[in-house]
Symmetry: C2
Subunit: 532 residues, 2 copies
């Protein structure tokens, strides 16, 4: 095999889970089918997928493997950021509450929380394996000890090192037992940053001692539990390397991760296309520096050809010994040998997925129920539905392309059945003007959580004043927060104890159904499918 | 075969194109998988599908046929309302401009228009056949001679009987040559109604002579061209039947359609679940009356069990002779024998679909180009992008679940690259307040077309006054109308000749790309995939 072909095996390209180029949701970052076929023919080793339904994904995984070729050496790593169940990214599979929802339970009942985290991992692993993903880019092993963290937040398994280590490891065990690879991320720990590495390079000023005591703990646990891969963080950690971010640092990847922590699996970079790296180092040199630092796999290089050129040139110029490449290729093959092959046909995969639907749905429901918080009376108590119409004021990041708010969503239909007409606000709406709001009681539903690329962990302050204004006007009929526990912690103390209010860490339709049910807004015959 | 099983073959149930119940967009009307399996095991003869991608559909059609059973007698009719290409309902397949876009070309150049309608039909038929649909519920044969018609409108092929007949027939020929069945609808002609039969029962007061001269013309032409099926209209036509709507009228279905017009193929009702029928006659009796009147197939009965009970009882009580059932079953079998079986595996279907993508895309683009209208200078002329930011004011019916406005849509990205920030208005927004609009020039993009269930053909008057206010304030930077030619005809005369403005009958991303391109807003690297 040529050097260039061997190097191509170390690259992981991003593609859409849809069959047609025209369906790509982020065409700037998603390779076209022509590009994919070309790179796969040249030996590309992996693809990270985003977008499409479970059925789309099942067909897509088989198509990509078909394009790569039939031999064992052509077997692809197919991965996705399905941290909250495969259904988080691929509709039709299971979508579970964000991991941080288990942290409060763990403090009360660690055994039950760990059993649930294990089941969470098993559900995710089983569905990934059936559909054709052999590499799940989870668990997040960061300790979310900074509520203002815009990028980790509820994706983490704990706010303390002990919780994160215990729950992430339980998830990992459940996951990897299904014959797919896990990935502990973002090494050496991204939980205490307040910047967004998608936009800029955050800095962690902590000492090595503090990092040992907090950040490293879940990674050590995941390594001890046999995690197949570790993903690097785009973070500056002056205590470990005064110059390079972790992704490009030999001190972090080779000295700390490989030697001090003894990790022998695959080291993969976080997406090199992120501005924090691509903007500073250039597409080719970023890939070369990551490989030099100790990474085996290069995720989403900003420019595949430039990355290959830089790596090839490095070998030709003797920048690294040949054995360094052989080690990475051998680790990759060893990882692939751990994977259970999926059913050959997409139809068979979907049939098996359907057979697993009932227990997976019961798990999703159990997680929602144990993480629900509520207070106050029913929204309908003392209210005459027929005589009074109200406003169902919904806040979401973007109503366009919003997967969790279909037209039959409980958050729309249930309040409507009770006389609350939906008014949807998002980043593309005119600012909320309470003075021109239609009259009547207001049910406020806030879908807020930390999201990468938004550079903010939520939208707290502004909503506190809306809540207070509605309370002063005697118009707040109810409040539901979906997502951020920190926003709920900020708003809930403002409410009278009798005011109907609920919090769910989930944003999916099943979370809406449960939260609204708890406030007396029962199921609507038009919705269906979201509850048992 | 039992009587009940034979009767079940005449029913067509609605289901989602998605694999999982939780993905249903309209669960009120879409059978669950458990219901589908049960009815298919009891002999159900057809399914009408809506929702999901082309890949979802390919897997779904094969799954339904698998559930029905392997024998020839168990072969299903699988249909969809894909009047504007399979991509209108199933993303990833081809989505073409609405048929009425060809009417102006037909007046200038009938030969070219008919050739394009034939290619339109061939594209639709080929994609349907590959994916697994064997019955396309098109062409609409109604003459759209009433611009206020909320339900037919741009779905029709012409505003005159001659245009509608010529173009619908050309489409039909192209379609049926691909081995799928067509359907002329809505007999005897729904074009001149101004009510929405989804909500109420419209009345056509015309004489038989007038109906002969206008409404019947395209149906006679389609029958002469060998159309496999005809769908009935939920319409009152006192000149034909003073009591019953067409769907339930023996005078219309047996006397007029079968005897006078000599149609020997399948007669199918429009959806019996529609309020105009279900509300008046009840679920069981509506099905019995339609069958009695001469329908072979019952589409979307409001209650499958009630429809079967009523039909079975009718036979047991001798309401109809046994031979009436045999005729309908024989017509159904004859229709099925005309169909080309699809590729056995979904993966193979998608591969063949991809091979046809380039010519189908060229056709879609040709149709967009010939139907585009524009006036005025470039939006950017005399404008400094860096110094002035503006508003990209977009009007759509619903931003939630809006398929043609993904986050990478040209209607969002291209204006943004030129400094226009999107502000999206829909039915769930606060009313537009021009006084609180952000400052700067306004690019107005109106997505408006007649839509069933909305009971209105558009939103004309209100937008004329918005356009005039923006013109008076000197803030209108450009206008694009996507969809309704009637709204464009109303707004365009208000504009100064130099003002950049465009109209496209299409609303899909490719229509956005072309219309904005014509106004000087060129392609954006983030969008991709929408143009050649």
């Amino acid at each position: 095999m040529s050097l260039r072909r061997q190097l191509a095996q170390l690259l992981v390209l991003r593609a859409s889970g849809f069959a047609s180029d025209s369906q790509r949701r982020y065409p700037r970052w998603e390779a076209s089918n022509a590009e994919l076929r070309r790179w796969l023919a040249e030996g590309l080793g992996g693809v990270i997928l985003l977008g499409g339904s479970a059925a789309d994904l099942a067909l897509r995984c088989r198509q990509l493997q078909h394009w790569a070729g039939p031999s064992a050496e052509q077997r692809l790593l197919l991965c996705a950021d399905v941290e909250e169940g495969v259904g988080q990214r691929f509709e039709g599979a299971s979508w579970l509450v964000p991991p941080l929802a288990l942290d409060p339970l763990w403090r009360r009942d660690p055994e039950r929380a760990e059993a649930l985290a294990r089941a969470y991992g098993a559900c995710t692993g089983r569905e990934a394996q059936l559909l054709g993903l052999n590499w799940v880019l989870a668990p997040v092993c960061d300790v979310n000890n900074n509520p203002a963290n815009p990028v980790i937040n509820v994706r983490a398994w704990g706010e303390t090192a002990a919780a994160a280590a215990a729950l992430a490891t339980a998830f990992l065990e459940g996951l990897q037992q299904q014959g797919v690879l896990g990935c502990a991320k973002h090494f050496p720990g991204h939980g205490d940053s307040s910047g967004d590495s998608h936009l800029e390079l955050p800095l962690l000023p902590h000492s090595r001692e503090r990092l040992e005591a907090v950040e490293f703990v879940p990674f050590r646990a995941a390594i001890a539990a046999g995690v197949a891969s570790v993903m690097t963080a785009h973070l500056q950690l002056p205590a470990l390397d005064p110059q390079r971010p972790a992704t490009l640092s030999a001190a972090v990847l080779s000295q700390l991760l490989r030697q001090d922590l003894g990790f022998q699996g695959l080291v993969v970079t976080d997406a090199l296309v992120m501005e924090a790296i691509a903007g500073h180092y250039g597409a080719g040199e970023a890939a070369a520096l990551a490989f030099e630092a100790g990474a085996d796999l290069i995720l989403m290089p900003a420019d595949v050809a430039a990355a290959l050129d830089a790596l090839e040139q490095g070998f030709q110029q003797g920048r690294w010994p040949q054995e360094r490449l052989e080690q990475s290729l051998e680790r990759r093959q060893r990882a692939l040998r751990r994977c259970t092959p999926p059913p050959a046909e997409a139809a068979g995969a979907l049939e098996q997925l359907a057979q697993a639907e009932a227990p997976h749905r019961a798990l999703a429901q159990e997680l929602l129920e144990l993480s629900l918080q509520r207070q106050g009376r029913s929204v309908l108590q003392g209210r005459s539905v027929l005589q009074e119409s109200g406003v169902n004021l919904i806040r979401i990041d973007s109503s366009l392309g919003c997967g969790f708010l279909p037209l039959a969503a409980p958050a729309l239909l249930r309040p409507q059945a009770a006389g609350f007409q939906a008014l949807v606000l998002d980043d593309r709406s005119q600012p909320l003007n309470l003075e021109t709001l239609p009259p009547g009681p207001v049910l406020l539903q806030l879908f807020v959580r930390g999201n990468p690329f938004r550079g903010s962990a939520g939208a707290g302050g502004a909503w506190a004043s809306v809540v207070q204004s509605l309370l002063e006007a005697g118009r707040l009929a109810g409040l539901v927060v979906y997502g951020s526990p920190y926003l709920w912690a900020e708003l809930q103390p403002l409410l009278p104890q009798t005011l109907p209010a609920a919090y769910s860490p989930g944003q999916m339709p099943a979370a809406q159904a449960l939260a609204l049910q708890s406030l007396g807004l029962g199921s609507d015959p038009h919705e269906g499918g979201f509850t048992d």
